[in-house]
Subunit: 329 residues, 2 copies
Amino acid sequence: MDRILMAHGGGGRLMRELIDQITKIFSMGELNDSAILDFPRKRLALTTDSFVVSPLFFPGGNIGTLAINGTVNDIAVSGAVPLYLTVGFIIEEGFPVSELLLIVESMARAAEEAGVRVVTGDTKVVNRGKGDGLFINTAGVGVLEDGVNISPLLIREGDAVLVNGEIGAHGTCIMASRNGLTFNEPLVSDCRPLNGLTQLMIKSSAVHFMRDCTRGGIAATLKEAATAAGKSIRIKESSIPAAPQVRGACELLGLDPMYIANEGILAAAVDKADAEALITTMKRHPYGTNSAIIGEIVSGRPGLVTIETTIGGKRIMDMPLYEQLPRIC
Amino acid sequence: MDRILMAHGGGGRLMRELIDQITKIFSMGELNDSAILDFPRKRLALTTDSFVVSPLFFPGGNIGTLAINGTVNDIAVSGAVPLYLTVGFIIEEGFPVSELLLIVESMARAAEEAGVRVVTGDTKVVNRGKGDGLFINTAGVGVLEDGVNISPLLIREGDAVLVNGEIGAHGTCIMASRNGLTFNEPLVSDCRPLNGLTQLMIKSSAVHFMRDCTRGGIAATLKEAATAAGKSIRIKESSIPAAPQVRGACELLGLDPMYIANEGILAAAVDKADAEALITTMKRHPYGTNSAIIGEIVSGRPGLVTIETTIGGKRIMDMPLYEQLPRIC
């Protein structure tokens, strides 16, 4: 069989064979609907995300690596160590089996890099025209060490606000892929696991808050954090790292990099005293080489995020009404 | 807004408002991508399922109640107590918001009945024509008490095989809904949470194996169990409970109730000595009133499942090549 049939979702032999192929790639053990996990510690982090990105493949990744890293990162920024993932496929009838297996293989590699195990899964098939090739859901479980507390409620006035690298690459890549744009200097998505970096950050500094800046970009993340914390945030535009391709594409299309989705970028609020040393530490990590302090927590109207522009002006960063680009993850 | 827009999935204000409505219905707390859970015990069960049932509403339930009960049941039959659920919505642009909220409300009620909490979620929107109204993924976490071990590997020769009620109702309901068939005596899906019943079973008897009989019906469940156990199973057709509407519809359409999907039916292998007493206990539970011993584990070819027909014949129950009816869950 080289194309997905409705029968691949039907509970019979064809489904079993497909699932066997998938579970082998993930090195899952005995086939059960529930995975049983030993858990010696006390607090768990639990998260889920569905992925509907279009196109399925883009420079730097595909829907599968996104599905692994997205869920790993949701757990990572909670301060927890991600350990186990579930995966659910919703496949459109007629989807090439080879493409599915290619995606599953890249998921297995992404899971290995992130140090997590895919322990249970599910496969459903929908009729042709009732899906869009492939949707993937992942849920993840992580363990939170005693004493680790990451929350917007812990954000304090004076905290430094930082990011771990150049913003806007993922959304720009998707936009370029969709519109057949290419860059002279190739641009790849920042799709990557952040759990190594977040653990490094927690161990070396007083991190109060972290969040990965996916849909809505860093603007939405900061706005939500400021609102939840009841504080204001002041950002300096000139300090925000972004690749020239991202700046160029945004300028061309009238978009703001601050609102572009990322898949391997986090924003954090940390104790000001630790901030410079933390940036030095982060820069040594492969996923933190372009880390930068971009602003600070200030007194002022709860939820207000202002940005000092490069030409010395000031503007309010509001919650976008919607993402500039749908289906980027 | 009374229809879902692409913007409802876009990470902006509209998405936030929709998510606020949903999280309120689930009584979720602080809005984070990861839920942090206290977990005092040692072994966890982890599972996931995506739901793509068509139509979304059917007698006795809807895609939402199915998404709660399906995942609750996957955990329940592992012997664990389900505690926490995640939920991921993939919504097609244009889907009525009122219908979505109706489904979410019924999910909240189903979760309450099952005694589980929906603790985190995700919402994605796909373009019109790229989905089918609504798909839902749930993942679940449960805790497995020390000493509880449920596995096909524990099945022993002589074990009694039992079910907790009349088989085939869910699949028959979906089939009838899809084809506009009605029954004189109304038939409703068996969509319901089994965790109360499974805990009762574990506490009162030596249960070796349990599995909920969803896609592929009880036939697929028994075939898989026999294969994993390396044993044969002998079933007596006359002992299998099924509603007259299910028998009638199957006869009319040339289907076999053994292959029809269920959503609140489990098959179990238990110590023969306990079986009769266990059936008496199960019959007192609202979801076990029609429990019955339907066969036994016998020596013979590993994976062989035979059924003694009502007219005294014998036939081999094979794994179906595929489900008779796609998208029943």
